[in-house]
Amino acid sequence: MSQGRSVFRDETKLDINYVPHRLPHREHELRLLREFFGFTLQSPEKMAQRVMITGDVGTGKTALSQRFGADITHEANLRAINLRYIHVNCREYKGSLFLVLQHVVSVFHPNFPKRGYSGEELLQILVQILDEENSHIILSLDEFESFVEREGSDAVYELTRLQETRQNKPQRLSLICILRNLEAVKQLDASTRSTLQSNIIDLEKYPKQQLIDILNDRVSSAFRPMAVPEGTVGLIAELACSEGGNARFGIELLWRAGKYANAEDLDTVTPECAREAVSSIIPALRKSDVATLSLHEKLFLLAIAKIFKESQKESLSLNEAEQTYAVLCEEFNTTPVSHTQLWKYLKNFSSLGIVQSKVSGTGSRGRSTTISLPRIPAHELEKELKISLSKETEKS
């Protein structure tokens, strides 16, 4: 652990369970959810709603639902409306309707017995509790796939058509179903599907710029001022983008990079800390890959590693790498290869997943290539290349 000052101000703001007050780039979806459930703030007993939230991992489905839940219950409290939002991760409850309902009942009666009744009885018990408390609940079923997989159509149908067995009585249960895509729902029979699929909010993957905004938001609440440079945020956003626009991955990486900075007694979370962090999650450097490179490929890659190690940059240009490569060639007493050949090497490094390269659009001064080293700590790459090069010079 660091003996100095921590880069963090409040690292709990990076915890997976933390729900931020603001959800950058999900404002529209949050408004939509509020619209769908607007009735709960007027006359919750008169209707029930069912909404599905879909999107890939890390697109903010859970955060969106929980933020909405916290906001709407706060608003309901102000209006003296008895509304509760209950978030259940179905996978944690093995996708079982019985266990999910047991959890919901335990919100009202924490010591309710765990045995002695059937699933159907439990549903009736829940309705009785809600009637007695004159309460409406919004039940958010996260990882809904596991529920569908385990219980199939009947259980979903029971939940969605609860009201049909109690006509002219107040409505008590609304649903939010959270899932990656609609594949799981296709397993349900047609009538059950039709009860679910009317309101769907699909969350798109976050592009890099949106990930930068999200990360900056967390940086400002979780880290000390100036502790995380722009370059580090950009690099982490790039990595999260390559992981399918996964904001959760980015936030976890941010936390981990902060831990590496603390462990090394640094005042700032450098891009190298982020590389250390990502390589601890995804080992990206295979020694066999390095061993198969030619002498000039190794020298060129060493040049890239050296620049990243010494400059703490997020990215560098091909020209910069070429200049350092030329110096290394002098050291190794060999003639540098051509610019075109280096460009080919770079393509090979990219395909091996060692670096990422990007060609900028054509401008008045032509194309330029930028290189980034997102996954491998520069010092680790440098070390590996030096070992490999020394073996090579020993042989010759």
Partner: protein, 90 residues
């Protein structure tokens, strides 16, 4: 029932302390926590209910017992147990 009879049982005192702490429980759970049999727990709960100290609510076949918060006896007992337990800790 006289107070000396109502509070003459260690088990009844333990039931009261438990319900003051956790709010509500069914008979089986009280029996389990006190390591006594169901019949014994049920008998003591019935006595406390007849005294107006406990009340129950049915949820399907499940009977949950809780303290009758409207009873002045419960208020007095809460006070007594609070003072007693607090003194024990000091």
């Amino acid at each position: 029932m006289n107070i000396e009879d109502a509070l003459s049982s260690r088990i009844r005192i333990k039931i009261l302390k438990m319900l003051f702490k956790v709010g509500e429980l069914n008979v089986s759970e009280i029996a389990r926590r006190l390591n006594i049999n169901y019949q014994s727990a049920s008998k003591h709960m019935k006595i406390l209910e007849e005294e107006g100290i406990l009340q129950h609510k049915m949820f399907g076949r499940i009977r949950l017992y809780r303290l009758n918060e409207h009873s002045s006896k419960v208020k007095a007992l809460r006070n007594l147990i609070d003072v007693w337990e607090h003194q024990d800790k000091n």
